[in-house]
């Protein structure tokens, strides 16, 4: 029995009298794909934002790999290898698809000053190519992300979250507003990425 990667216990978030998240506990094991399902307005996004430090929780603890990470900022969590996507599309519209992927992982490479003098891709080119191929985005790699179709932007958005070889990725509604064919594709991609990550860590 391995220890859980993410362990959330008794998490609460209230806005005045409104309890958006009430006493939520769950564990996610390494290599597991864990889904949170609920109707609109049931607090899924609030749960996400609370786990990720975007908003402060009212009560409860969050442990990552046995370490307490309650009240860490999104920046600190990203440094610990936790990435996310957002409910709405959040690509950098004026940058190319390839640059979107590169910038998504460059902060995990070297020091601030080192990055000033580093080559433009911070040595992340091969990793970007790997994900561009996997997500079938090679043909549009040089286009501005904002010019792509919604479905393609969704793929870029998800690929960005996986660029830095994270230990945990939280995807907020990865299939919202996406046609059924692409939903299947995204599911396959997530399974493939999980398999590859498991292989790399074993």
């Amino acid at each position: 029995m391995t220890a859980p990667l993410l362990h959330v216990a008794g998490l609460c978030k209230s806005y005045g009298a409104i309890r958006a998240v009430q006493d939520v506990s769950f564990s996610v094991m390494p290599g597991e794909i864990f889904g949170v399902i609920g109707p609109n307005g049931s607090g899924k996004t609030t749960l996400f934002n609370t786990v990720l430090g975007q908003i402060a929780s009212t009560a409860g603890t969050i442990e990552l790999d046995g370490r307490d990470v309650t009240h860490r900022s999104p920046l600190q969590l990203s440094r610990c290898g936790v990435n996310r996507t957002f409910q709405s599309l959040q690509v950098f519209g004026r940058m190319t698809v390839r640059d979107n992927l590169l910038v998504a992982a460059q902060e995990h490479r070297g020091s601030m000053l080192g990055r000033l003098l580093a080559p433009s891709d911070c040595g992340l080119g091969p990793r970007a190519d790997e994900l561009l191929d996997l997500f079938r985005l090679r043909d549009v790699a040089g286009r501005r992300a904002g010019e792509l179709s919604y479905g393609q932007q969704k793929l870029v958005d998800i690929a960005m979250a996986f660029m830095s070889d994270p230990v945990l990725v939280l995807l907020d509604e990865p299939c919202a507003g996406v046609n059924p064919t692409l939903v299947d594709r995204i599911r396959e991609l997530l399974q493939e990425l999980t398999r590859r990550a498991a292989r790399a860590s074993s």
Binding site: L75, S78, Q90, M95, V103, Q106, L117
Partner: protein
């Protein structure tokens, strides 16, 4: 993507920059130099405003600090070649010092914080006579010589400013293509996503702000050598507004936006001299019209044309 038309424009611009000043009278040479000084200063402001997305209305303060640093250093007997890097370094440090508290707020609040800084610095320049000479300023600011070659002549000094502008433009070009440049663009487009990907938004905005200030410092030092007389009035709030205007008119976030915007801000008022007292009205009205029809600035025209053409081929109006 460098196309042939870009090369042609580049070569034409280089020829104009190198040849035209040699053909005009001394006031024309001065105007060319004046334009380049503002192009350098607004290059820095464009980094802060156009790339990192921070509204700064205190840029003239850094221009002034640069000018006074050089003038004071030279009065104290130090070389121009020491004064220039000191001006840049001092503005960089001052930019960090101002940015650290000020960049905790955004948009209009940041504009007010930087505006207050501009007024405070202007008061120091005007009131601290022991240091700055007060309203009578510091005169006889010298010009340097390079490898025994005197840069005291107007044309020689112009070429010196041109060389510095070219070096600083190349450095900015490299910076924007480095991982830092990507981080600047990312945090302007979407700071929340940027932060969730590990981009330290606070550190990068602070650096963009301080580097922008250092560019203004160099521009200020060059300005002091150009007019050879430093007094507080060119560094008032009005100059900060004008530089912000130059960035926006040229096209915020476009690499050559500052060069175009500074040309508009420096040259158009000269051409409108014949209207005498009316020039500010005409200038102001044309800026309002420009912002109404071209909010992205002059350099957004090619992008707009391309977007329209793409819309036509797709069959959507």
């Amino acid at each position: 993507m460098i196309r042939r038309s870009h090369w042609l424009i580049g070569v034409a611009a280089a020829v104009v920059l190198l040849v035209a000043p040699a053909l005009v009278r001394s006031y024309g040479v001065y105007l060319f130099g004046y334009w380049l000084v503002f192009a350098i200063a607004t290059m820095g402001l464009n980094l802060t405003v156009g790339y990192a997305g921070q509204a700064s209305l205190g840029h003239a303060a850094f221009l002034g600090v640069g000018a006074y640093s050089l003038a004071i250093a030279m009065k104290a007997g130090f070389s121009f070649w020491l004064g220039l890097p000191v001006a840049a370094g001092l503005c960089f440090v001052l930019g960090l010092g101002l940015g650290f508290p000020a960049l905790r707020v955004q948009s209009v609040y940041l504009a007010f914080a930087t505006l207050g800084f501009n007024i405070a610095m202007w008061l120091v320049m005007r009131n601290e006579e022991w240091l700055t000479g007060g309203t009578s300023g510091i005169d006889d600011v010298g010009r340097p010589s390079l490898f025994g070659l005197s840069l005291a002549g107007n044309l020689a000094y112009y070429y010196f400013i041109l060389a510095v502008a070219a070096v600083l433009a190349a450095l900015l070009w490299a910076l924007l293509r480095s991982p830092w440049g990507k981080a600047f663009t990312a945090l302007r487009d979407n700071p929340i996503r940027a932060e969730s990907l590990g981009i330290d938004v606070q550190a990068y905005t602070l650096l963009a702000f301080a580097i922008g200030a250092a560019y203004a410092g160099v521009a200020g030092a060059l300005y002091a050598g150009l007019v050879q007389f430093v007094e507080p009035s060119p560094f008032s709030l009005g100059a900060s507004f004008l530089m912000y205007l130059m960035v926006v008119v040229g096209g915020a976030g476009y690499f050559f936006g500052p060069a175009v915007g500074a040309a508009v801000g420096v040259l158009v008022p000269e051409w409108l001299r014949f209207t005498q007292g009316w020039y500010l009205v005409v200038f102001g009205a044309s800026v309002i019209l420009l912002m109404r029809w071209l909010p992205g600035g002059l350099l957004s025209i090619p992008d707009r044309v391309r977007a329209r053409r793409a819309a036509v081929t797709r069959g959507t109006p």
